[in-house]
Symmetry: C2
Subunit: 322 residues, 2 copies
């Protein structure tokens, strides 16, 4: 999940209400990261908690994968700011007695190995940590980066194109299989990896920031949900054509648009952007960049299927009101 | 608890082993804060997790106090670096359904009000947050500050005086009363406040950093435990005279030296420091500053009672191996 997801949906309404009450102590809470000017630079920071049974299950992922995935999710907020990672601080909750919990090869050590690998993978390091015995495994990751050209969610203007990096729906495909009895065994490795080993789009975010991106958000709540956040923050209507969405093989556009925790980037770019710029992006990052719609005057999200308006796919809510 | 407590004791050994395995990704993990140079300034960061049943109980503290206390504990790590707070990021875990959990006057809102008040109290603000439904209340606080003259644990030298701010033992007194049936009702308000509403010694830490402190640590694991950390980090022996410890009324020196979560500062100062400097400190901060011992050649901690060596009081371990 992102730093503070402001948009429609149960979790977002509650978070918004919660942080609104902080009054004057609150910073700029409506983006993937908070930005802090320091000595002529701009620090980008965000925090992202992952809890067993809510964000991961220990029978789905190894402890190393749990550490990687929680850290990659947090680093994705830096990517969505166009920031360069500095490092992470992580609080771990581990069940059991302390000796077994933190011995050689223990879950805590495995989780921290995954955390450290994910940080190193984007040029960051582990800056600090804390540890508590808890009933369920917990990995809370605070990320720090430098964003000399930060790209907020709020910069999109009517006329901008709406683009997405990579392909969507792989994480949802993996999640659906993991939820089925015996599904893990039949899951192709590439699909499982998409879920277990997400790669935050740090280089892509930086490239886009340097090349004039107007607004940027990572896809953690699902394309439809995050497009709605971007629309709300920018004061535009976002129109998305379902048939243009780059989908993971075997995934329908509607499912791809609803799939959460994809950790691709959704970006608003000037109208003139086209195939040539997308090719330059691909050369620089190895990722596709696909235009899936436009920003227009108005508010909210409009989704079409072959030109016909359809109901936007449901978002992805970690905190459903039961 | 501090950023990463390295010294004797079960928790510390396990943490040290855990973070040692991070290898080259690890930063400078042996201090209250990690230090990150940014644009000619020095950022100090730390993370500090508080979990219901381990660090607090909801029948002891109001939710607002829970938020304040968790945040004050984390900010104390900035104080122990001589840093000026910028702000905090906080992940909350709250039980129950999201609606009730985050509605008006709900626990989550009360906790965040306490977090924001503690941050504001030292000139900081809430920079970001995350929220998850969890079985137990959880408050994980990452603190950011500027430390242009950071004071590490490792700078003490043989010949330095060892000093402590304020008085010790109040938090332990409150904790003991809270653990007794009906103890809360008989607890004087000042003692309860010492536990529920600790004030991180931010101004004191800054003053000491500006006036030549050699080594600084906050008292979270108990004076004896934290003195041992300082000795280990600095490569000196710390000698403490029990009878010199400034004690909370009704607390014996031995209990005061064992009491954790006091959030006073333990500081090594040049030999020449005396009553005049302590008076200047008091004028600036409103706090007493008391010399309780010396740094000498050697290793470890030596505690005396009227000149006679005694066994150091036991430390304070949040993560006992059971």
């Amino acid at each position: 999940v992102s730093h503070l997801s402001l948009g429609p949906g149960g979790e977002f309404d509650r978070l918004r209400a919660l942080f609104r009450r902080l009054g004057s102590a609150a910073g700029d809470l409506g983006d993937d990261c908070a930005l802090v000017p320091i000595g002529g630079r701009t620090l980008a920071v965000s925090i992202d908690v992952a809890l067993e049974g809510v964000h991961f299950r220990t029978d789905w992922l190894s402890f190393r994968e749990i550490g990687w995935r929680a850290t990659a999710a947090a680093l994705s907020d830096l990517a969505a700011e166009g920031a360069t990672p500095i490092g992470v601080l992580v609080s771990l909750g581990v069940p059991g007695d302390g000796q077994r919990a933190t011995g050689n090869g223990s879950p805590a050590v495995q989780i921290m190995a995954g955390v450290a690998a994910a940080a190193r993978n984007v040029g960051g390091r582990v800056l600090g940590g804390d540890l508590v015995r808890s009933r369920r495994y917990l990995v809370d990751v605070c990320v720090l980066g430098l964003a000399d050209r930060p790209v907020r969610r709020s910069g999109a203007r009517a006329g901008d194109g709406v683009w997405v990096t990579g392909r969507l729906g792989g994480a949802g495909l993996a999640l659906a299989a993991l939820r089925r009895k015996g599904g893990r065994a039949r899951l192709p490795r590439s699909v499982f990896q998409r879920f277990a080993h997400p790669e935050p789009r740090v280089a892509a975010g930086r490239w886009l920031a340097r090349h004039g991106a107007r607004a940027l958000i990572d896809i953690s709540d699902g394309l439809a949900g995050d497009a709605a956040h971007l629309a709300a923050a920018s004061g535009v209507r976002v129109e998305i054509a379902l048939e243009r969405i780059p989908c993971w093989p075997g995934v329908a556009p509607r499912a791809a648009a609803a799939s959460g925790e994809e950790y691709e980037l959704l970006v608003a770019l000037p109208r003139r952007w086209g195939a040539r710029e997308a090719r330059a992006f691909r050369r620089a990052t190895g990722l596709t960049l696909t235009r899936i719609g436009w920003c227009v005057s108005g508010t909210g999200l409009r989704v079409t299927d072959q030109g016909r308006p359809v109901t936007p796919p449901a978002g992805f809510d970690h905190f459903p009101a039961r």
